[in-house]
């Protein structure tokens, strides 16, 4: 073989040689005229519809793109639902009257019955994966059909429950600031108030939380308790009828009969308040009366001493034990505070909302939320790696949504209460609740670092150097003239958006 290769021509001439070989292939004759006749005939057809032929691939690709887009939009469509016996306000809040309970039937078979005098909102998760239910006030009972990938959540005041496929009962007494969650089956994740984030609650456990004392307990629920409820429940499928549902004569509040066991359904009962979530959005909402037989009864709430106070059940309303501050449309507060709301930013802060902004600009609520959004510039620090690091905190301190205790900006005085809780929602950050004393320099604030939404705080928890957990503390709120919820600046540029949704005052 070696000898043969030695006499080979170069690579290029080898190809030339092969090309010559191909040239020796005999081609059979010359093209006959009949071939032209075929071409001529086909040319007629081709030229008759040239544009359509040329557009063929374009049309095919366009049709495919349209199909894909349509499929995506159909798939992304949120869960549909129908609402019965509930009035829908312009702000997207559903409300039941004092005479009738309401029902929401979701397309996937899930249902929510709402007690009388309740207000709630619905925000649907894209791709029909579920819904976020937010009750502004009142009591509701959910029956959620379990589906793979479903995401259902319930916001109850500062408490949030992520449904991971389970059955449970939830009660939220807003006037008392008390929350109770009883597991019937499976487990949930719960957070809010003093409860650590992502707290697991399993079958047979009951979580009780008290906002007044910032405490919570988790106890094992005797199984017979649940069984007793199954036996005692008196609720029937009258939810959509005009008849009152609740049996007030001696029966526990919300007491209902248990339906036959339905493994596919995850049922909850809740009584909550949360104005955070927005309304139904773009999905179609039909308000109509649902046929009573289609309403699946849901189980009863567990009677608890927590909720047995006269403040909830007595026919004559007692003096409320806490105050819910009301946000006026012009930013003026009432029911506890008489001052106005405002928003203020540090040197490196720019706002996208509110649109027009000056120092201590009045902040008007939108959909009962005091919101601010924008960006905060990064802090500029010197001696970063030394103990004497200094940053421009004094000028670039972040952004604050605040409110004056009184309209005349004087100290709160005798109207001051014993504790305060601020409900808010926003991007994850270390928020700070601040209180300013009348007569102190503007920049001096007493504060609580890493403040959580709904956390009930007393004056003694405010410190003059909260970031270091030291300094003077407040004796009371009497001398306080201003409160702020601060989104502090950070070492990097950061966008912010947060809303104060409620302020609760405790005696």
């Amino acid at each position: 073989m070696k000898g043969k290769r030695d006499v080979f021509p170069t690579a290029d001439s080898t190809c030339q040689c092969l090309g010559d070989l191909a040239r020796r292939v005999e081609i059979s004759g010359v093209p006959p005229l009949a071939e032209w006749a075929d071409i001529d005939r086909r040319l007629d057809r081709t030229w008759r519809v040239p544009s359509l032929r040329r557009l063929g691939p374009v049309l095919a690709v366009s049709a495919l793109a349209i199909l894909c887009a349509a499929g995506y939009l159909v798939a992304r469509r949120p869960l549909g639902y129908r609402v019965a016996n509930c009035a829908l306000s312009a702000k997207g809040v559903f409300a039941t009257t004092s005479a009738r309970s309401g029902v929401v039937a979701f397309d996937d078979g899930s249902q929510m019955s709402v007690e009388k005098d309740a207000r709630f909102r619905l925000a649907m998760v894209p791709f029909g994966h579920g819904a976020e239910v937010s009750l502004d006030d009142g009591e509701a009972h959910l029956a959620v059909v379990h589906r793979p990938g479903a995401r259902w959540s319930v916001q109850a005041g500062p408490f949030r429950i992520d449904v991971t496929g389970t059955r449970f009962d939830v009660r939220w007494s807003r006037p008392l600031g008390r929350f109770q969650l009883t597991m019937v089956e499976g487990e949930v994740l719960v957070a809010g108030g003093a409860i650590p984030p992502a707290t697991h609650l399993r079958t047979g456990q009951t979580l009780s939380a008290d906002l007044m004392t910032s405490s919570f307990t988790i106890a094992d629920t005797p199984s017979r308790l649940t069984e007793a409820h199954r036996a005692d429940d008196t609720y029937s499928a009258k939810t959509t009828s005009a008849e009152p549902v609740r049996q007030d004569s001696g029966a526990p509040r919300g007491s209902r009969p248990l339906p036959p066991a339905t493994p596919a359904r995850k049922r909850t009962a809740i009584a909550t308040r949360n104005p955070h979530l927005t309304a139904a959005g773009t999905q179609s909402v039909q308000v109509e009366a649902l046929p009573p037989p289609s309403i699946e009864p849901v189980r009863a709430l567990v009677p608890s001493p927590l909720f047995s106070t006269p403040a909830v059940a007595a026919p004559v309303a007692p003096k409320p034990s806490l105050l819910r501050v009301v946000f006026g449309a012009d930013g003026q507060l009432s029911n506890g505070f008489t001052g106005e709301t405002s928003v203020e930013g540090g040197e490196g802060t720019s706002f996208s909302a509110p649109a027009s902004w000056n120092d201590r600009s009045p902040l008007r609520p939108e959909a009962e939320l005091l919101c601010a959004s924008g960006t905060v510039a990064a802090l500029v620090c010197v001696n970063e790696n030394l103990p004497k690091m200094h940053c421009n905190w004094d000028s670039n301190w972040g952004v604050a949504i605040g409110w004056y205790a009184r309209a005349d900006h004087k100290s709160w005085g005798d109207a001051a209460v014993g504790a305060i809780a601020v409900d808010f929602r926003g991007r994850s950050a270390s928020y700070r609740l601040e209180a300013h004393l009348k007569g102190d320099p503007k920049e001096k604030m007493y504060c609580i670092d890493n403040y959580k939404s709904g956390q009930v705080v007393r004056p003694s928890m405010f410190k003059s150097e909260c970031w270091a957990d030291k300094g003077d503390t407040l004796a009371d709120f009497h001398q306080v003239d201003l409160f702020n919820l601060l989104f502090p600046s950070a070492m990097s540029y950061v966008a912010f958006r947060y809303c104060v949704s409620g302020i609760t005052l405790f005696p």
Binding site: C15, A22, P31, E35, A37, R42
Partner: protein, 208 residues
Amino acid sequence: MAVSPPLPQTAAPELDSSDAGLVCAARAGDRRACFSIWSKYAALVQRLVWRFLGPGSDHADLCQEAFLRLFKRLNDLREPAALRGFVVSVTLGVARNEARRRRIRAIVGWVPEEVLPAAPTLPGQDEAREAARALYRLLATLGAEDRSLFVTRFVEKMDLSEVAAAHALSLSTAKRRLARLVARVNARLEASPVLLEYVGLLGQGRDP
């Protein structure tokens, strides 16, 4: 199949027989110009297709396809005088597509990979005929682009600029690809004793 071609009418104006004149007339819808173009280049198209794909039975269809595509794309021809290059380019495109189709059909098993017919197509010695079959078997293993380059450069003996133009390549790119093609062909030659023998005989100065 006694179909008479649409020959030029006697009353029609004289047709400019230059490439540019034919292109302009064909663009205007003059069917006589189309016929003239076909008459002028049918042999070239047929030869290119045959040399690209090897002897076969369905090349007439491909030749028709090449002309149909040519007439449809006449408006894309920027320089009417360059009709010949355009014909070559279009024909090679059709042949490349056919080669790809055949390869895919062979992969999915619809038909066996292209096999030369047993009928004698080469005049002369049996060795040359056998070598030609081996050559087209080798070419069938190349990509359509490489095959096209081989036909234009080594079979049609086009110069480099013509090869580059026929493939819409720059001259340097065409050179690079030809060099790569030559290396590939020589590498695959090792697997073909018939071709090795044929090339070896040539190297010794003997006429195979």
